[in-house]
Symmetry: C2
Subunit: 452 residues, 2 copies
């Protein structure tokens, strides 16, 4: 019956999602402030249409939070659904094969910024809720909390949660903002890495110089920055920041063995990325490197002349964005401090450095023995025909540890994306199949969770 | 009399130069192709107005060469004046305090791209020639050869010189495209470094990836490029490319001592650049590092996200422009090959690299015991009141060695710029005083050269 409802309403579901995807709700860019609000208002309307009560646009010091609920029976369990309606910037725009905010379907995938992360996944929850309401099948109470600042650090969510603990009372938090391994191999994320995202600036001389006149005598900030970045990994790809690994939880041999049972095809992985070799920390597998080990990556670098041809400049400044993925029990604030101290100590006297923390979040693990996890597992098995594999994702959803701390609630990360969906990249997309099966799986989760 | 002529025509001289500076003849940028030709046509007209015969726009495979001559008596010596009318790109435009192609005078300096390098210095020669013609004082034959591709490697000058050896017959080459130490301390450049200018591209995965999902497992091209750049200098700031120093001419202790007699104030140097320390090859002074030692500098670097805020991307590609200054007897082609081979060898299997040579030129030294050098020295002494110091410049004018090889002619590098003129940088400028005294000094050179 759910199946039939989804099938007969499929085109409308997609039309509504496309309308949401057309709103460029880029939270990082102040020029899109009105668009972000517009996306929130659209969700308020859609939650009301689906049958939610007390739907509201909650103001914060930044972008608003959308809240809505349906309490059918206080003796039933309550699910708190979290998601976000803001999206990453779309640049580099020129690498998109279709405009990022004009969704199109190609080979069964919806191409648009936010199609997977996270508008498409949020919208599955609203449509699953609508279906249960229409078919009179809603078996749990539900609360929705959909924010507009996930891509910029959820700065105001903490205050909102602290000030609304009563309103947000629930039994479990359900989030779809992660990936499955593949359509054949569903999985549930049980660990997430944290993040410390830094910007560094290295200044040499007070102005751009002619490299012929000054080269060889005056420190070149690009050469120096390169040296500083290079020194942050040793020959085994260990990170060299003193104290960086001090709080890293090492998994037991048994835990590592379990984790490495997830299907992984090295040849396919390399072929899909067109690389001849991997590059990572010695002594760990690829799944471990992206799941349970902290990392340090440059996300951007710039300085000097980048135009056509040759310009013999010795630039005044060079910049980089450098981010670290953190694992339990590393702490974003501590790592940010360690990085800053170390980076400053690397600078020779011939340059000045400036370090700015741009963004951060804590790592998290979620339990695999809870009633909610079991319900999620059963839901996947029912809809996908196979028991999902618990995995650790490399990405970060800092709010998971916030919810644990403030609301004392565990989270189930029931995401339906694929690693190849190009989130945060040009040509982000989301499978229509993932979207529709996701709705079905969510409905199944409510059933299993209430039945336990 | 020359003095009076210059003074009474000063405003017109500047107006004419400003008209030339307004033409954005950026040879590196194909969008400015017509502007480059326009600048050449302007010089043709001005050479004719000044009294030159057989003035022509000589076509090449690239930008045209302006030629003009005045043969007054074949028994008199002939001076071949070389210069260039093309300019460096103006970016970063936003750092200019006035538009680069709208010349203005501030505190006695002309601010515009090309004001010093080399339009301003070329124009001194045309005006010195005009003055001698008008006052009937021309004492040598003169030939002008002014090219439009100096800033992009003078690719077509070699062919032109080879095909016009007879036309270009002369006794000496005179070039104003270098600097003096200061207005109080005139100097003549007697050595120039060569150049090998490279662009490198490092490719990791075939697309931008999410750094949370792939970070730690897939090679990050920015991290790798930084490592490769960093490894090119050792802890003593020696360049590590195998064979790089093999052909470097080491100066004798006496020669080094002589060279280090040039005035140099470390405190002022550091203060002027706002740096706390120098950074250069161990065992050499600043004058040696910029004069007689080869160097390797990054002129630009870019890759990944450089916008506002945090974007957790593991980029597909990173790029850098890297140039090496060469000294006698290094060879541009050999060094380019050594660099390419070494850079490729540094790349781990996890990335692909591409190395492109963008620009190059040979190092050169000019004699200090020639009749022409003595005439230049006398001219400076007459106009500036003090004997000029012979110096070695860090910059490169590759054509000096070309002229030696093809025309068997020595060059006198009688430039009037200052190192602080910001050539190749935002806010390039040239002193009006340098411009006017330069004209006077050129006229004096003709007199002394013909009198010997």
């Amino acid at each position: 019956m759910i199946n039939e409802y989804i099938q007969s309403n499929q085109q409308r579901f997609l039309d509504e999602l496309f309308e949401l995807l057309r709103i460029p709700s880029v939270s990082a860019d102040s020029r899109h402030k009105d668009d972000v609000r517009h996306a929130a208002e659209y969700l308020v309307k859609k939650l009301k249409d689906a049958g939610a009560d007390t739907v509201e646009l909650c103001e914060t010091a930044g972008h608003p939070i959308v809240y809505g609920e349906k309490i059918i029976d206080t003796s039933l369990p309550t699910i708190l659904v979290y998601g976000h309606y803001d999206v990453q910037p779309a640049d580099p725009i020129n690498l998109w094969t279709s405009p990022p905010f004009e969704p199109v379907v190609k080979d069964g995938d919806i191409y648009a910024r936010g199609s997977c992360d996270d508008k498409g996944q949020v919208y599955m929850h609203i449509k699953a809720f609508e279906a249960m309401m229409k078919l009179n099948q809603l078996s749990c109470n539900v609360k929705f909390m959909i924010e507009g600042e996930e891509e910029v650090g959820s700065d105001n969510l903490g205050t909102f949660v602290k000030e609304n603990k009563n309103k947000l009372k629930a039994d479990v938090i359900l989030i779809s903002d992660t990936s499955i391994i593949s359509l054949d191999t569903p999985s549930i994320t049980v660990g997430l890495r944290g993040l410390s995202y830094m910007e560094v600036e290295v200044t040499g001389p007070n102005r751009d110089l002619h490299s012929g006149v000054y080269g060889g005598a005056v420190a070149n900030p690009i050469n120096i920055l390169s040296m500083m970045i290079a020194s942050m990994h040793d020959e085994n790809e260990h990170i060299t920041i003193p104290g960086f690994y001090d709080k890293v939880t090492e998994l037991s041999a048994a835990e590592r063995e379990e984790m490495n049972k997830a299907p992984f095809n090295l040849d396919e992985y390399k072929k899909e990325l067109d690389i001849a070799d991997l590059c990572g920390e010695k002594g760990y597998t690829t799944l471990e490197r992206t799941g349970i080990r902290p990392t340090l990556d440059c996300n951007g670098i710039w300085g000097g002349y980048a135009g056509e041809g040759a310009k013999t400049v010795l630039p005044s400044k060079a910049f980089a964005k450098i981010s670290m993925r953190l694992v339990p029990n590393q702490n974003n604030r501590e790592i940010t401090e360690l990085f800053t101290k170390h980076f400053e100590s690397l600078a020779p006297k011939s340059v000045k450095v400036k370090v700015t923390a741009l963004h951060g979040g804590e790592p998290a693990v979620t339990p695999t023995d809870s009633r909610a996890f079991e319900a999620a597992s059963s839901a996947f098995k029912e809809v996908w025909g196979t028991t999902p594999i618990p995995t650790r994702d490399g990405g970060s959803i800092p709010i998971v540890s916030l919810f644990k701390k403030e609301l004392r609630l565990d989270t189930v990360l029931m995401g339906f994306g694929l690693d190849s969906d190009a989130i945060h990249s040009p040509n982000e997309h989301y499978g229509i199949k993932n979207f529709l099966m996701g709705i079905e799986t969510i409905v199944s989760f409510y059933k299993h969770y209430s039945a336990k």
